[in-house]
């Protein structure tokens, strides 16, 4: 039972354009959402998060949007840079329990 789904295993974007990574979840108990970025041979690193009381959170080039009614969130990267090429994991948690459930990841390639 995949509670956090990233249906696009890969995405290619031209440098300077917008990258949009999507994530869907099924568990209505999730109330905190995170995006992690992973380079090869390294552990995931935290990128940005959003709580269920918000619908948008922005940090520099990265913005996360949350649509609770659709159980959908997305990560926007503008403008995309070659250094953004990595695997991006969407994750969700029940805040009180602190257990984080990860999606399967989307491999982003930013083409110079």
């Amino acid at each position: 039972d995949q509670q956090v789904k990233q249906n696009s295993p890969s995405l290619s974007v031209q440098e300077g354009r917008i990258s949009i990574l999507n994530c869907d979840y099924t568990n209505s108990m999730f109330d905190y959402f995170l995006w992690y970025k992973k380079y090869p041979a390294e552990g995931p690193t935290f990128l940005i998060s959003i709580s269920s009381i918000k619908d948008k959170n922005e940090d520099g080039r990265f913005t996360v949007f949350l649509n609770k009614s659709a159980k959908h969130l997305s990560l926007h990267i503008v403008p995309s840079q070659p250094g953004d090429s990595a695997v991006y994991f969407c994750a969700a948690s029940d805040w009180g329990y602190q257990k984080v459930t990860f999606g399967t990841g989307t491999k982003l390639q930013v083409i110079p």
């Binding site: 992690y36 390294e42 602190q98 257990k99 999606g103 990841g105």
Partner: protein, 115 residues
């Protein structure tokens, strides 16, 4: 600030052999996690510690996996005996429970290959 340290980085063993992974979390982090990441998948939680107490080990295959976190700092994850299906990357992460962000800091992982 030093990050989460894991060793070894790579391990190749034959099936039925034992193997152990070690993790040193970020200083001051009271919560420690062990995850398993299979190829093409996201990390899956095996066990979570708060200080020295295992508060969630529901996903740990207890017939062959064991873990300990002595003194609430370092942790060891053991598999005995290893099976072919245990080949994966084992990730350790830590967090400070009251940080307010649920952010976990991951180590580089140990890539286990069982032949």
């Amino acid at each position: 600030e030093a990050g989460v340290v894991q060793s070894p980085r790579y391990k190749i063993i034959e099936k039925k052999q034992p193997v152990a992974f070690w993790c040193n979390p970020i200083s001051g982090h009271n919560t420690l996690y062990w995850y398993r990441q299979n190829l093409g998948q996201g990390p899956e939680l095996l066990i979570r510690y708060e200080n020295e107490e295992a508060v969630d080990d529901s996903q740990l295959p207890k017939d062959r996996f064991s873990a300990e976190r002595l003194k609430g700092v370092d942790s060891t994850l053991k598999i005995q005996p290893a099976e072919l299906g245990d080949s994966a990357v084992y990730l350790c992460a830590s967090s400070f429970k009251t940080s307010g962000t649920n952010e976990q800091f991951f180590g580089p992982g140990t890539r286990l290959t069982v032949l």
